[in-house]
C-alpha cells in the first residue's frame, strides 16, 4: 500500500522503535524468553532475560503475520547479537498470535497486557486501558497481574488507533502532533457528538466550515475518544492504580482528557507503552519455563 501511495504524505505514520538494555548481559542469563505481539496494525517483540525486560522492537505489521513476527524479533536479535536459538521459550499474543511460526504457545492479549502492565506499572495496577490499532480493551486485574474482569471492543473503529489515524489524515496533521495541537485552542470545545468514525468525519468537516480551527476539531475529537473509552472502563469498574497501554497512550490529547474524566492520573512508564502485550507474553514464558525446569530450545 505504501508504494502505491507515492508522493502522498502519510500523516498517520508513527515512529517505530527498537531498544535494548545495554547494562544487561544476556550471555550470562539462565532463562531467555520472548513475547511476540502481532497486532492488526503494529507488531512488537520483547526479550526477557531471567524475567527482566532486556530489549524490544515495535514496528508496523506487514502483509502477513509470520513475517511480521520474524521481523519484529529480528530487530532485537540483531541489536543484541542473539540468535533465535538462544531464546528458550517464545509466547505469541495479539490478533495474529496463532501465526507466529516459532512460538511454543499462544496466550490472549488480554492476559498478556495485564501481566505486562503489572511489570511496567507495578503490582498496584488494577485497571488497564489498552488502546490498540483496531481495538480497545478495558481490563481489571489483581496484584499478580491476573485478569479479573475484561472487555474488548474490536467491532467499532471509534476509540481505536485506526480512528485516530482517520482524523490525522483528514486534518493533515502528523499523528504524533495531534496531542499537543489539541491543547493549542482558544477554548476547550465539546466532544464531537457522533461516536461512529464515519459520521465523525462529516461532523469534523462541518465544524471546520463553521469556523473551528483544525486544532479545535482535533480537541473535539480527542475529547470524544476519551469519553468513549471512559464509558468502556466504567463497565468493568475503575480502581487505582490506572495504566494505559497501546499506541494512543502516546497521545497526551487523549490521555490527559481521560485522566480528567476519571479524576485519576495514569501511572507513567519509562518504556514504550506499545510493548505491554509482548512483555506480558515474555513474562508468561518465563513462568512456564520456571515450572518446566530444563530450558527447551526454540522450535
Amino acid at each position: 500500500m505504501a508504494d502505491t501511495a507515492g508522493e502522498k504524505k502519510e500523516y498517520w505514520r508513527w515512529q517505530e522503535n527498537c531498544w535494548i538494555d545495554e547494562s544487561k548481559d544476556w550471555r550470562s542469563a539462565k532463562i531467555i524468553t520472548a513475547g511476540i505481539d502481532v497486532g492488526s496494525v503494529s507488531s512488537q517483540a520483547v526479550i526477557c532475560v531471567d524475567g527482566e525486560l532486556y530489549g524490544f522492537n515495535s514496528m508496523r505489521t506487514g502483509n502477513n503475520s509470520p513475517d511480521s513476527a520474524k521481523n519484529a524479533i529480528g530487530g532485537v536479535l540483531e541489536k543484541s547479537g542473539m540468535k533465535l536459538e538462544d531464546v528458550h521459550y517464545v509466547v505469541g499474543t495479539g490478533y495474529g498470535r496463532v501465526n507466529v511460526p516459532f512460538a511454543h504457545k499462544a496466550i490472549t492479549e488480554i492476559a498478556c497486557h495485564a501481566r505486562g502492565a503489572n511489570y511496567m506499572g507495578g503490582n498496584g495496577i488494577r485497571t488497564i486501558l489498552d488502546m490498540g490499532g483496531q481495538d480497545c480493551k478495558a481490563i481489571h486485574c489483581d496484584e499478580k497481574g491476573k485478569v479479573t474482569n475484561f472487555l474488548m471492543n474490536d467491532k467499532c473503529a471509534a476509540g481505536t488507533g485506526r480512528g485516530m489515524e482517520v482524523i490525522s489524515d483528514l486534518m493533515q496533521i502528523p499523528i504524533a502532533e495531534l496531542g499537543a495541537r489539541s491543547f493549542d485552542v482558544d477554548e476547550e470545545p465539546n466532544a464531537v457528538s457522533s461516536v461512529c468514525v464515519v459520521f465523525a468525519k462529516s461532523e469534523a468537516l462541518g465544524l471546520l466550515k463553521a469556523g473551528y480551527s483544525k486544532n479545535k476539531v482535533v480537541a473535539a475529537y480527542c475529547q470524544a475518544m476519551a469519553e468513549r473509552v471512559v464509558s468502556l472502563l466504567e463497565r468493568i469498574g475503575v480502581e487505582k492504580d490506572f495504566f494505559i497501554t497501546g499506541g494512543i497512550a502516546k497521545n497526551p490529547g487523549v490521555v490527559k482528557r481521560i485522566e480528567k474524566l476519571l479524576g485519576i492520573q495514569a501511572v507513567q512508564t519509562k518504556y514504550d507503552s506499545q510493548i505491554a502485550g509482548a512483555l506480558g507474553a515474555a513474562l508468561f514464558g518465563y513462568t512456564l519455563m520456571q515450572k518446566q525446569g530444563a530450558p527447551a530450545k526454540a522450535a
Binding site: 500500500m1 483496531q134 467491532k155 467499532c156 485506526r162 480512528g163 482517520v166 461512529c196 468514525v197 464515519v198
Partner: protein
C-alpha cells in the same frame, strides 16, 4: 386547500404538498404531489434551508403560501423547521408514506445514508413496532457508499456489478472503517470487483434483515430510502429476507415527506 410535509434530511430537503379534493361528494385526499428536492447548501443554516426549499417548492407547484393550512416536518432536522405546525419522527413518516404508496406492505425497511431500520406497520401506515441501528454507519447506506469509493465505482455501477456475481464472500469487519481495509486487501488479492460489491451489499442486507426480524416480518415488505435505487442491494435484500418480491415505491426519496404530508392532512 393543501397540507405539506417537509423532510429535513442530513443532505437534502424534500417537500410534498397534498391537495384535498371532493370526489363524489365525499371528502377524499388526492395526492396531487408537487415536490421539490434541493441540495442542502452547506453555508446555509438549517432553518434557512427549510425556508428556501419550501418557497421553491411552492413556486414550482404554483401554490400560494396561504393555501397551505398545515405543515408537518420530519427527518433528522425536523425541529429546525420553524414554520412547521408539528413534527413527527422519520419512523412514523416513513411507515405512513410507504403504506400509502404500497398498500399491501406491513413491513417497511428504511435504509438511508445514515441509518437503517425495520418497521412493522398496520393498514393505515401506523407504526406497530420498529428496530433501528442509528448512529452507526455499518447498517446504513454510508457503508455501501464508502466501499464503492474504495472500489472506485459509482454507487449505481456498484449495485449493478454485484448482480454479476454469484459468489458469497463473508465480510469479517462490521465497522465501515475496518471494512475499508478489508476491501483493500480483497482488491490486492485480485478478488473480482463484482464479488466484493456483492459481499458488501450482502452484509448491509443481512444487518437490516436482522432489524426487520426483530419486529417480525409480516405481509409484504416495502423498501424505502436512498438504497431503493441500488439494484444490487434490492437483490441482496430479497435473498436475505427469503422473499420473491420487495415492493419499491415510486419516488422513494419523497416517501417520508409524503408520509408527513398525509399526517398533516389527517390532523386537521
Amino acid at each position: 386547500m393543501y397540507s405539506a410535509g417537509i423532510d429535513m434530511g442530513s443532505r437534502t430537503v424534500k417537500v410534498v404538498f397534498l391537495e384535498e379534493l371532493k370526489v363524489d361528494g365525499a371528502p377524499q385526499l388526492k395526492w396531487g404531489v408537487k415536490g421539490k428536492h434541493i441540495m442542502f447548501p452547506e453555508d446555509l443554516d438549517a432553518d434557512q434551508a427549510a425556508e428556501k426549499a419550501f418557497d421553491e417548492a411552492l413556486q414550482a407547484a404554483g401554490i400560494a403560501r396561504d393555501k397551505v393550512t398545515r405543515v408537518v416536518a420530519t427527518g433528522a432536522g425536523r425541529k429546525q423547521v420553524k414554520f412547521a405546525t408539528a413534527d413527527v419522527t422519520e419512523v412514523s413518516a416513513g411507515a405512513k408514506g410507504a403504506v400509502f404508496m404500497c398498500p399491501t406492505a406491513r413491513t417497511v425497511i428504511d435504509v438511508g445514508a445514515e441509518e437503517g431500520r425495520g418497521i412493522k406497520a398496520d393498514g393505515d401506515g401506523k407504526v406497530v413496532d420498529f428496530a433501528g441501528n442509528e448512529k452507526c454507519a455499518a447498517g446504513a447506506g454510508a457503508f455501501a457508499e464508502s466501499m464503492s469509493r474504495a472500489l472506485q465505482l459509482s454507487l449505481k455501477d456498484f449495485g449493478q456489478a454485484s448482480l454479476r456475481s454469484d459468489k458469497t464472500i463473508p465480510m469479517n469487519a462490521q465497522c465501515t472503517v475496518f471494512a475499508e481495509s478489508e476491501v483493500v486487501s480483497l482488491i490486492h488479492s485480485s478478488t473480482p470487483k463484482e464479488d466484493i460489491a456483492k459481499a458488501v451489499l450482502d452484509a448491509v442486507a443481512s444487518r437490516v434483515t436482522a432489524m426487520a426480524r426483530r419486529v417480525g416480518i409480516e405481509g409484504e415488505v416495502a423498501l424505502i430510502g436512498g438504497m431503493v435505487h441500488n439494484v444490487g442491494f434490492v437483490q441482496s435484500l430479497k435473498t436475505a429476507l427469503g422473499v420473491d418480491q420487495v415492493l419499491l415505491p415510486e419516488m422513494p426519496e419523497y416517501v417520508s415527506a409524503l408520509g408527513a404530508a398525509l399526517l398533516a392532512a389527517e390532523n386537521k
